[in-house]
């Protein structure tokens, strides 16, 4: 039983480590597909933007972002 619990814990730790390593390896499309002539350090505040993760967490807040960054 102890070996089982340790194994499950180890699997979770390794999976978490793998998630961080994979996140490290992850690249945004705007980084991967930029040419040297394109300055996309700040890709703007549209659909992408520095905050656009590709995941939608709070769809209702979209307009707010625009207003905020516009000021």
């Amino acid at each position: 039983m102890k070996a089982f619990l340790v194994a499950v814990a180890a699997a979770l730790v390794l999976a978490t480590a793998a998630s961080f390593l994979l996140a490290e390896n992850q690249r945004f499309a705007y980084q991967a597909f930029a040419t040297s002539g394109a300055r996309v350090s700040d890709p703007g505040n549209n659909l992408v933007g520095p905050r656009w993760t590709g995941d939608i967490k709070d769809p209702g807040q979209g307009g707010h972002h625009k207003a905020e960054t516009g000021s």
Partner: protein
């Protein structure tokens, strides 16, 4: 004569070329710019996909049309659910049938009952359970890709199902790594006890004690266990290799390659699940006393002598006082 033939050939060539020259002109006599232009049909004859040049940095976008996804779709939507369902449910049915006909393989008591012998040490059990726990989650999240939308989604609704599938996807990607590590651990730990030999053939010919009442002799692992071992190692590595190629898109292969990887990954996956179901059955419900090997690591000496006689002899020959023998018990001989 030869000259005549060549003249005839020349004439034939000219005759063939004449309509082509005529086609270059449009109805109003203007030159036809499409006379030498590419067209879809011609390009598909050269290559199964149409590839060109693109000015954006995403080179994978240079494929104009690649219809191979249609065949992959045919596999995934028409074949895979049936193959997967039949393989997994078929194995469950076979195990059920076996349980109700053969019944549980009981522990045979002898004067050595109650004495324990260490079968798997802590690290072996750790490796087994790490791989096993990952496998359970991987297989469920993997089956979810095939059957989730058919079975689960109508029950819990699209939103709840999408959330579940999202976590399932994360679990599938991240738990794959401890799983692959566990497979490698088990390979290193047990490979020398799993080399097939003549004794395995005898074991198989006698039905392994599963079909009859015979107890063919076996070393640390009998032929059935060796098959499970090589299945886990072989399928585990194959799942890892095909999975990694899909985790890193375009790193090793293009879209067509990934389609093939997905086909291999899913086919091996369902067979792997069926194989492991049998392994789970015989290691728990199917045979009394077998679970202890991976539970506490110590098995009943009477059980060990019946099922792994050669291994017990070897262990007892190695040491009389026995660090392998648990709880200070003395060996029987």
């Amino acid at each position: 004569m030869r000259r005549l033939t060549s003249i005839a050939l020349l004439a034939a060539t000219l005759a063939l070329a004449a309509p082509a020259v005529a086609q270059v002109r449009a109805p109003d006599g203007a030159p036809n710019p499409t006379a030498s232009s590419v067209n879809e049909e011609m390009l598909f004859k050269q290559d199964p996909k149409i590839h060109g040049r693109i000015s954006i940095p995403n080179a994978t976008a240079a494929n104009l049309i690649q219809p191979q996804g249609r065949e992959w779709r045919q596999f995934r939507e028409s074949w895979l659910p049936w193959i997967g369902g039949l393989v997994v449910l078929g194995m469950l049915a076979a195990l059920g049938l076996f349980y109700f006909t053969r019944g549980r393989i009981r522990l045979e008591h002898s004067e050595e009952s109650g004495k324990k012998i260490l079968r798997f040490n802590a690290f072996e059990r750790f490796s087994h359970w790490m791989t096993a726990s990952c496998f359970i989650v991987l297989s469920l999240s993997g089956l979810n890709y095939i059957f989730g939308k058919r079975l689960l989604m109508p029950l819990i609704g699209p939103e709840a199902f999408a959330t579940l599938a999202q976590y399932g996807k994360y679990a599938h990607i991240y738990l794959a790594w401890p799983f692959m590590l566990g497979v490698l651990f088990m390979l290193v730990l047990w490979v020398r006890d799993n080399i097939p030999g003549k004794i395995d053939w005898i074991w198989l010919k006698q039905g392994g004690g599963l079909l009859g009442d015979a107890h063919p002799s076996a070393g640390r692992f009998n032929a059935g266990q060796k098959m499970v071992f090589w299945m886990v190692v072989g399928f585990g590595l194959a799942m890892g290799a095909t999975g990694i190629m899909m985790i890193f898109p375009f790193a090793a292969t293009d879209i067509n390659g990934m389609q093939i990887m997905q086909v291999i990954h899913s086919l091996i996956g369902v067979v792997f699940i069926a194989g492991i179901l049998a392994h789970i059955y015989i290691g728990s419900l199917g045979m009394e006393g077998a679970y202890d090997a991976m539970g506490s690591g110590e098995v009943d000496l009477a059980w060990a002598k019946v099922h792994h006689d050669l291994w017990v002899k070897e262990q007892q020959a190695k040491t009389a006082s026995g660090p392998q023998l648990g709880r200070g018990q003395v060996p029987a001989e």
